[in-house]
Symmetry: C2
Subunit: 502 residues, 2 copies
């Protein structure tokens, strides 16, 4: 029997974007429903931002034990208790998920439907639900698509190695650490996870088809990243199309796995990875972690039953300031929109889409925040405002200021002195346009930079602000002085501080 | 035989302020001389900012080994190799000093005089020098006083315990770590050093005459600091006037000292510390580290031979925007000015005083940077812009926004979740006036805050900037939302992000 529910606004997906949309819509109407296939809880809390930082924190702790020697502290080799590491990751992760679920559970039960939604037409959703009494059809005056994204699982690899192919969605459920993992894809996720696992004494190799690691677009910084991460962990770039299959392991390998305390499913098979395109030797791993991108969850939405304009990837075409699809009463937010998949943007998009949906047909275009992106590798990567490639492709007339963190005072004190920062300033106006960085504390420097881009600071203004001594921020000052010199060649004033900061 | 040198500008003191002054003056005139009693090199590099951060880095490394367990990493107790710890501190310190000396040595030799300067009159300095051929008298049209400051060594303690009384000027010359140290004075220096030594397994007690630890003026945050640091290390506040004397140790104590691997001068004597004003038991230490303040080095300058206006401490009265003393051709900069003894301010003051001295009688008043102060304890302390007490005493109409770091997302991930932040906003305008913080990453948050104060940001503007997830900066956002609510009570918009950041 078809139970049809009529609402003002239906929100598909209860992740970070959907939750933010709901908070806005619920202020305007009681006739709102959020549909989620479950399990409820956000990607951020379940398998994204939070648990990955937990794993990285453990990796940092292991590294700190080894690193202590350079300060005169003897500590021996750290013993990584994989079960204990994963126990903390899971229990904290569960706490974050519980905190998100608590918010969801504070909503009226009638506002929540557990089930899979599929468009029948522009205003009607069919709900595939197991819940007794739940509507099986929802008619909505306005709809917000906030279905998130899922990691790509290349079908031929799935076929070749089955359950030994994992993604970030499985990692944080591990009961213990595996003995070895091939991580494929050196983007943010792959780099963070590969380095964390490497530091946790998992045998790792990070592969990328292209000759690029991390997110930075500046050729000079990208070259530094290849150097730095090539030394930090086993890395094969320019790997081309990997050949992946299962391979029977000899007894010796199994023994070695057992000696390492691996609780993995060492049933004699292993993932064999070969790079026909490079001269990297073949290597065998317990698991292959695919980090080759995420794809908007729009395939199963039945969008072909609607009149929505779609792009080449089948994602609805939308305006990023209203999140509206064409001029329709349909909005898209978060990773489903595939615009800039970082948490605070997903939340912003949810708010904007929710406000737009609640106010339709009065749809306001809202300002978006200055962009920033951080990768929590060591050293960290960050982009604030516009990156090098974006500025170059847009034909902007800009100058570059640079600083190396190799001889930066505070970085040396803490023995984390590697990396570099580039700051980009507009010729003529002297305004800061953006920056890219690989180096210590990049997450903090990136906030300073993004905020200055946001308010249109000139380089000269930024140099009038305080830089405490001795801090990593003094490196930023050195880069800004270099940029000022590039923008206005000639003698400069405040070139000396104590000489130990830059 | 009296050799008299006539110059346009004489700079007394070649520390951070004197060096910055010289760089300005030397652009205008060749007739400049810098007089320093030696050893040349700055307080910052020799015994201040840099070596203290080196000791703190070692302490952090030791702590990280212990702390690793909570992440699932077994490492055993860290063994602190005192000689190795101090070897790194000294060798890095020496490198910083050498870097400063290299700058000094790039100056023409005729611009440098090693000797002690004393005013004979407003324009004449007598130089007590051992250097052959050096002038013994300098006549200068303009003079910059940049003599720095020295730690106070209470005379009765010196008399009672002799060489067992040390200050930060001796600590970084230690060949190894002592077995035990009483640190007296819970200001920035005392707190930083006491906590670092404690983490390096030196038996420490930190005493303060008053019931205050660190630099924060907010009563709520000061109370938190007493709690946090009372748990972090042995702390006796409200100690009143300490009674300090030498006490013959029994054999058992000596054996214990030897067992601890102490290379200290354990000749059977020890420093006995008693607090008649409190019920703290008496305790014996190898050394007493006095951190009871620093005093401007002006006593030996013969200022009574000049017509300079002096304050109650005998320090010349000056304008903080020109650094000019009265309307005289005399300027004062850096810690000698006793204004705000942090490095970047000393360098700014040197630059301003140098520019003023070079341009005299054309003396421009120059803007000063927004104030900030950081204490590199764990957790760190920071003040940006105006603190709570300054605002209250000035009768400013302001509201307070607060956040606790106890349940802040990223702080929990890294298991550094303690402390709190207060942000102060002007009633009516909504502008950020200042902030105080005890908590993780305060040095970074303080830069964001000081920069926003500098440019006159309103709380609403600050909330339009990006906050990356998950970062410590999200805690700042929560505090700003709280402040916005206090400034403009009523329903607020962007209250939800992912719920895991604040």
């Amino acid at each position: 029997m078809t139970q049809t529910l009529d609402v003002d606004v239906a929100i598909i997906g209860a992740g970070s974007a959907g939750m933010a949309a709901y908070e806005q819509v619920a202020q305007q109407t009681e006739r709102v429903v959020v549909i989620d296939a479950g399990p409820w809880g956000t990607t951020c809390a379940r398998a994204g931002c939070m648990p990955s930082k937990l794993l990285i924190a453990a990796a940092q702790a292991a590294h700190a034990v080894t690193h202590a020697r350079c300060f005169g502290i003897e500590a021996g080799e750290p013993k990584v208790d994989g079960a204990a590491v994963m126990a903390r990751v899971r229990s904290e992760r569960d706490r974050y998920v519980a905190s998100v679920l608590k918010t969801v559970e504070s909503w009226p039960p009638s506002h929540r439907v557990t089930g899979r939604a599929r468009f029948i037409d522009d205003h009607t959703l069919a709900i595939d639900t197991a819940a007794v009494g739940a509507p099986t059809r929802i008619r909505a005056a306005r709809i917000v698509i906030a279905t998130g994204a899922s990691p790509v699982r290349p079908p031929d690899w799935c076929q070749a190695i089955g359950k030994r192919l994992v993604t970030h969605e499985e990692v944080f459920d591990w009961a213990t650490l595996p003995a070895s993992v091939a991580v494929v894809g050196a983007g943010p996720l792959g780099l963070e996870l590969a380095q964390a696992l490497h530091r946790l004494q998992v045998r790792v190799r990070l592969y990328d088809a292209k000759n690029q690691v991390g997110t930075l677009s500046s050729p000079a910084l990208q070259a530094q990243c290849r150097d730095i991460f090539g030394q930090a962990l086993p890395l094969t770039l320019g790997a081309g199309d990997l050949q992946v299959d299962l391979h029977a392991e000899g007894d010796r390998d199994r023994d070695r796995d057992r000696d390492r305390g691996s609780d993995g499913d060492s049933n004699g098979d292993a993932v064999r990875v070969r790079c026909p395109g490079s001269n990297a030797p073949e290597e065998h791993f317990e698991l292959l972690l695919a980090a080759v991108g995420r794809r908007a969850n729009v395939q199963a939405l039945g969008l072909s039953n609607t009149s929505l304009p779609l792009d080449a990837h089948g994602v609805p075409v939308f305006n990023r300031h209203s999140l509206q699809v064409g001029s329709m009463p349909i909005f898209i937010a978060g990773d489903a929109a595939d615009d800039w998949p970082v948490l605070h943007e997903a939340a912003d998009e949810g708010r904007i889409a929710g406000t737009s949906a609640a106010g339709f047909p009065r749809v306001q275009k809202q300002p978006r925040r200055t962009r920033m992106q951080v990768v929590f590798s060591v050293p960290q990567l960050a982009t604030a405002g516009q990156g090098f490639e974006a500025l170059t492709q847009a034909g902007v007339d800009f100058e570059v200021g640079r600083v190396s963190y190799a001889d930066q005072g505070r970085a040396q004190v803490m023995a984390v002195n590697q990396g570099a920062l580039e700051v980009y300033g507009e010729t003529g106006s002297g305004r800061l346009l953006g920056a890219e960085m690989v180096g210590p504390g990049a997450e903090h420097i990136a906030h300073l930079l993004a905020w200055s881009v946001a308010r249109g600071d000139t380089v000269q203004q930024m140099l009038s602000y305080p830089y405490y001594h001795p801090t990593l921020e003094e490196g930023l000052r050195t880069a800004l002085r270099d940029l000022r010199q590039a923008l206005q060649p000639g003698p400069q004033s405040d070139t000396l501080d104590c000489g130990l900061g830059g």
